[in-house]
Symmetry: C2
């Protein structure tokens, strides 16, 4: 018989039930392969019916998380409550009670990583969190160990399946944001309240965690520039598509001369860009190292089964003792690293897609071109479509693709342009993200 | 100061020099991050000039591998000699001398994995071999630990950068095999003697290693069905392209009702297949697990820097003690697993692309259709091109895409067709590989 690892689970929602089912279905095989017998001793959920649904025996179910945390028999607590309220207490108390913790909680680690890791360290325990980013994709693992010999120059990720699903529907089928969101909710790809996903918040959480590890620094989640997908207009996705671009919500962490650039925003990538073909609810993450070059990891970023796969991998790693050893020895987590130097968004150099709704009148193009030129922004392509006479408006869309320019200059130019009499609507700006140079200094 | 890990290196060619340079450039940073000081104590190469080229101090260079193996100070030996001759002795002797081994040697592990792992086990040492498959891509790591909770249903890999480079050139630029190979050699993507790569042998080695781990069995390399790319004709790649397919040399290991299907062969994949966009010398590997679903790993499958990245990651893992613990505890390597049940190629169910050169004469299509129909092979698409009257031949190409059929039946049908009076050349057959079903039983 294998070494017994007694596991407690707090939070038996979708992912928790996946973990229960996985351990039930695969426990024997996992024991055969790893020599570890993962036994689910106690499962806590405010709503015990959740645990019953997954087939947990009645005597192991409790409504009281404390009963898991205080159970002397339990050596590892799996926290799947989510959020930064009760979940934080559960994690901290579990660590103080001498238990290792496995969690999928990105919000918690992004916001309180420093406190949680230092609590773990003070209690000589560890926190494992493979499931927090990229769902079932082994991602923390390569970042922490597989690429340890590298200095990472950049991480580019499609980290939120809900947004990617919505953008794919909008791009490929010309749906509006509202339609695509509704459909995502109906198919279970979006929550009834989708705010955290569509605002870019969830992507920001994951990016903060990945950046902390990749660059060995203590990232402050509030220092990320975050834009969501709620304001995207299907006509821009269509216009981008015509020009050969696909729109993705990217989380980007990149070393620049001005410091670490950390940002989440809708991005046009060329259709042959490594991330362009990641469609629907899939996630993909590119990592660039100075020795390994470009590596990419792809898979299901969410869902009960993939996330359970990552949680159980962590349980094995913790049970084996490897997670603890890495946690103790490596100096790459927030509590033992310094804050990065943050690069300002205003200083960002990137290319831009801009759409302006302008009066269909002579001299318009000259005014626009001058406004950009005054700010040192050079245009790479300009498309003016014919006016849509049926809607009674005299406004026509002018689509501009720029060469690389400074974001601060672009904002100034757009402020000026917005003030021109010929401009009808608020200008639309979407950053164009080029493929990262594989080997940078 | 970090814990000292004394490393010996045998074989200082391209990859060995990469390791030397990496440790020199990044050693201090790696020590800071991991608490391990990786010290290169001694470097052996038959040609000491190689080690000098990488900047190894003279007093640490030796022409005698034995001087590394017998050095009592050294705890880990990195074997980068390659092949199954002297390299095998070096590895076995190092293990017997109480040293852990890190190796990039796929041929050695594919052919002698059982012996090497059991020697390691008998001496309570470990063998780490991340660099053997997929170059710098962390691949063994996710397979061994990140996906440990899963039953793997299939692995599909573009595992050889040389072949992928040649096929990309042939596909995208219409070059002949000979031209593309020549160019690959000129650019350093192919060896002067490219046989091991283009024959599919190198892919087979890597596939055998990956399949052994993914399916927890002892794969006999000689039981793989292996076809290379040498006989591919650019006209078939062009014809496939017209039909929406890209040609890749795939290594495939898939669980089927008839056992484990293990095969390396040129494959047509649809242009939206997850592996289709892996171009040039890049590698990509899809792994399908019953919980995680589809995951994919992408990056540089060869080269000095990426491979060195993987070797040094292994050194850290060994130095930390995690590699040893996993090696000792997990029962997934050849020496502690059984041979799989091998599925026969004749029983394989797949789709096919077939090109026949036939006489441009009435009744030809009927004869061909009958030959396929007699063997229960149903056709999905047939294209007959106009005869090329300029070359004086009356032969015209007929391209057939079949529905799924049994390979044994296809071979019989092709034997019959080849014997028909109207058929001019040996029929060309390329298997069409569909995207694997994400979740299979």
């Amino acid at each position: 018989m294998g070494k017994l690892v007694r596991v407690g689970l707090i939070g038996c929602g979708t992912v928790g039930q996946g973990v229960v089912r996985l351990l039930h279905a695969e426990g024997a095989e996992i024991e055969r392969k790893t020599g570890l017998r993962l036994e689910l001793v106690r499962v806590a959920d405010k709503d015990p019916a959740q645990a019953r649904k997954a087939g947990v025996p009645e005597e192991r179910i409790t409504a009281d998380a404390g009963a898991v945390i205080e159970d002397q028999d339990i050596s590892v607590v799996v926290e799947l409550v989510g959020g930064t309220g009760a979940a934080k207490d559960f994690v901290v108390q579990s660590l103080r009670a001498g238990k290792d913790v496995v969690t999928a909680n990105k919000a918690l680690l992004a916001r309180f990583g420093r406190e949680i890791h230092s609590t773990a360290r003070a209690n000589r325990r560890c926190v494992a969190f493979e499931a927090s980013c990229g769902g079932g994709i082994p991602l923390i693992l390569p970042l922490r160990t597989g690429l340890i010999a590298n200095r990472i120059s950049a991480v580019y990720g499609i980290l939120n399946g809900t947004c990617n699903y919505i953008l794919t529907e909008m791009s490929q089928k010309g749906k509006s944001y509202a339609e695509a969101l509704k459909e995502a909710q109906a198919s279970g790809y979006a929550e009834p309240d989708p705010t955290l996903d569509v605002s870019g918040g969830d992507t920001a959480h994951k990016l903060a965690i990945l950046a902390s590890i990749a660059f060995g620094c203590d990232v402050d989640i509030d220092r990320l520039h975050v834009e969501g997908i709620q304001e995207l207009d299907a006509q821009d996705l269509a216009a981008g598509r015509e020009l050969g671009y696909v729109c993705k919500l990217l989380g980007i962490a990149a070393r620049t001369d001005a410091g670490l650039s950390l940002r989440v925003h809708p991005s046009f990538v060329r259709k042959d860009h490594p991330l362009a073909s990641t469609s629907g609810s899939f996630n993909a993450i590119s990592v660039y190292g100075n020795w390994v070059g470009h590596t990419l990891y792809y898979g299901r970023g969410a869902g009960s089964k993939p996330t359970a796969s990552a949680v159980v991998a962590d349980l094995v790693d913790v049970g084996l003792g490897n997670a603890g050893r890495t946690f103790e020895q490596f100096r790459i987590l927030n509590d033992v690293t310094e804050p990065p130097l943050y690069a300002s968004m205003d200083g960002l150099r990137t290319r831009f897609y801009v759409r302006l709704m302008v009066a269909d009148r002579p001299g318009v193009m000259a005014q626009i071109a001058k406004a950009f030129g005054d700010k040192d922004i050079s245009l790479r392509a300009v498309t003016q479509h014919e006016p849509n006479l049926t809607n009674g408006s005299d406004a026509v869309p002018v689509v501009v693709l720029t060469h690389e320019a400074v974001e601060g200059h672009m904002r100034e130019a757009l402020r000026e342009i917005a003030g021109l009499a010929i401009v009808r609507d608020k200008p639309v700006m979407i950053r164009v993200v080029e493929e990262h140079e594989e080997y940078t200094a």
